[in-house]
């Protein structure tokens, strides 16, 4: 209890907690869950965008998209490394995800149907992710905070790139502009759901706030995102698919009620792509099994050979 108080005092003093520091089991558990979910999201998030690498409409876009998806993989790697500092191995965490026991961001359970979806993911999904992640750069757990700083820098580059894709479409042919509007129509509401359930029903938030893992509420972040996005949509000449949306006296944009039933279904495994995403990750994992085994077998052979040489 004294240790717990001391721990909370460090948090309150905005000190960073490091891997070897004492921490409450619940803090460790919460962070492991959050960081690994975040890592899983990066990895599963490679799939919807990866779906368009082979069909990107110009070489410049193809290179940029491949590099972007590669960055996401890199984020996954930092984040698994951050989670590992809390005592769970990457393998363990990945197995939970493949078994359907660990979550990843629901947004990746929606399909990418046209090229405009690639622009929209960059613009809105990465935009929402940044909104969520910037506060995490000041998270109380050191390795997570440092990973987030690096991630956020790259994400904001991706976000600008996505916006630029949208801009090109909106300045293009009528069909391109319609493609952009269609993508916005399909992604808008799922993106708003990325910030999580409304504050009045959100779990985890109280302790997360106390521990300075979470610094803003879901609804606060969602509002910030909407306020930042509306002028961008206007600039693009696109219509946000919410006829009831209006600006209130404070300048904030009030959005209509979100269909939380859809969110619940997607979370429960019933989104349009949940099956496909898990199947793709499982297939990569299973198909790669013999490769990982070979690498381990070879490393072991080498170890034995050098032990033998050392003994001679």
């Amino acid at each position: 209890a004294a240790r717990a108080a001391q721990f909370q005092a460090r948090i309150d003093a905005d000190e960073r907690i490091e891997p070897n520091d004492w921490m409450p089991a619940a803090y460790r558990k919460t962070l492991t869950r959050q960081i690994s979910q975040h890592a899983h999201s990066e990895i599963v998030g490679m799939l919807p965008e990866g779906n368009w690498i082979t069909r990107a409409p110009s070489l410049r876009r193809k290179v940029a998209l491949l590099a972007k998806v590669q960055d996401e993989c890199g984020h996954g790697l930092y984040l698994y490394a951050a989670a590992e500092t809390l005592g769970s191995s990457r393998e363990e965490l990945v197995d939970l995800m493949l078994a359907g026991k660990a979550k990843y961001s629901s947004i990746f359970n929606y399909p990418t149907l046209t090229w405009a979806d690639i622009g929209t993911i960059g613009w809105l999904v990465d935009g929402a992710a940044i909104m969520n992640q910037i506060p995490l750069c000041r998270c109380s757990y050191g390795p997570y905070a440092r990973a987030m700083i690096r991630v956020c820098k790259e994400e904001s580059f991706h976000q600008r790139q996505g916006f630029e894709i949208m801009l090109t479409l909106c300045r293009g042919t009528d069909e391109q502009k319609a493609m952009a509007q269609d993508a916005l129509n399909r992604w808008w509401w799922p993106v708003l759901m990325m910030f999580g359930p409304p504050d009045q029903v959100s779990q985890h938030s109280d302790t997360s706030t106390k521990w300075k893992i979470k610094r803003f509420s879901n609804d606060e972040l969602r509002q910030k995102f909407v306020d930042a996005t509306v002028p961008q949509a206007q600039f693009l000449g696109l219509t946000i698919p919410d006829p009831g949306m209006k600006q209130n006296v404070d300048g904030n944009w009030e959005y209509s009620a979100i269909d939380w039933e859809e969110f619940k279904q997607v979370l429960a495994g019933n989104g349009p792509c949940n099956r496909d995403r898990l199947a793709a990750r499982r297939k990569a994992h299973e198909d790669g099994g013999w490769v990982r085994e070979a690498a381990m077998a070879y490393a072991e052979k080498r170890r034995q050979r050098s032990a033998l040489q050392a003994a001679e």
Partner: protein, 258 residues
């Protein structure tokens, strides 16, 4: 009636550059197909890295071919608006990824060649090609290292990885001869010092390959018959399927800007 495919004025230098550009593009595209599906995240990173290097080379080479040709074509027109018979890449590089061993063997054969080739091309009397060569050589040196390490691990790993890797070597071997072939259109460029003769590179290539394959406890096939055709657009059936995917957007929306 719109004309579907661009016409290319294949002067020797345009053709020569296009051939290398197509090698880089098709190879980079194949590697990009792995993205999100590799056996481990580190390999997702590495395969994407190699793919990005190659796609970068493709862009520079296609742009240079367009400049030399001087008919208003550009990197995207070359990539997206030529049909299978106009593509000039090595047959080796259009072969499907197959399993990880197949991909690694394909890239190992090619990167080992490319590294020697680009090193020699750094002495090209064509300043642009020499500059591209200098950059590409550095990149391919890394590709050789990465692929060689995997060949050794897979060959000397488990029984299954050995079997798969040996199978990949046996299947792909017949496509390696084309890397060292020269046709009439290239002779003049070689004489002018713009291109280099790849034939003399073969002994060094074979030495490197043999070294790695030996260390991996694998063996090279005895069969010395070699398949050719890619340089003159006689491809395998695989390339058409690759192109129908690669080109789908540009074909669907002709003339749009992305």
């Amino acid at each position: 009636m719109t004309v579907a495919n661009i016409t290319v004025s294949e002067t020797p230098l345009v053709l020569y550059t296009l051939r290398r550009a197509d090698d880089a593009l098709i190879s980079g595209h194949r590697l990009s197909e792995w993205c999100g599906h590799a056996p481990m995240l580190e390999e997702d990173m590495a395969l994407a890295n190699m793919g990005l290097d190659l796609l970068g080379q493709a862009r520079e080479l296609h742009s240079y071919a367009a400049k030399v040709e001087g008919r208003g074509n550009d990197e995207d027109k070359f990539a997206y608006l030529r049909d299978v018979r106009q593509y000039r890449n090595l047959l080796l590089l259009e072969q499907p990824n197959g399993d990880f061993a197949r991909t690694m063997v394909r890239q190992f054969f090619y990167a080992t060649f490319a590294d020697l080739y680009w090193r020699a091309m750094m002495r090209s009397t064509d300043a642009t090609l020499a500059a591209i060569a200098a950059k590409s050589e550095k990149e391919s040196a890394y590709h050789v290292r990465h692929c060689s390490e995997w060949i050794v691990r897979l060959g000397d790993g488990t029984e299954e990885s050995h079997r798969r890797t040996q199978g990949a070597i046996d299947e792909l071997w017949a496509f390696t001869g084309e890397m060292f072939a020269v046709d009439d259109s290239e002779r003049g460029l070689i004489d002018a010092g713009i291109a280099i003769d790849p034939a003399p590179l073969r002994s060094q290539w074979l030495k490197t390959i043999t070294g790695v394959v030996d260390e991996a406890t694998l063996a090279l096939p005895k069969n010395d018959w070699m398949q050719q055709g890619g340089r003159s657009g006689r491809h395998s059936e695989h390339l058409g399927h690759l192109l129908s995917e690669l080109q789908s957007m540009q074909r669907t929306f002709p003339g749009a800007t992305w």
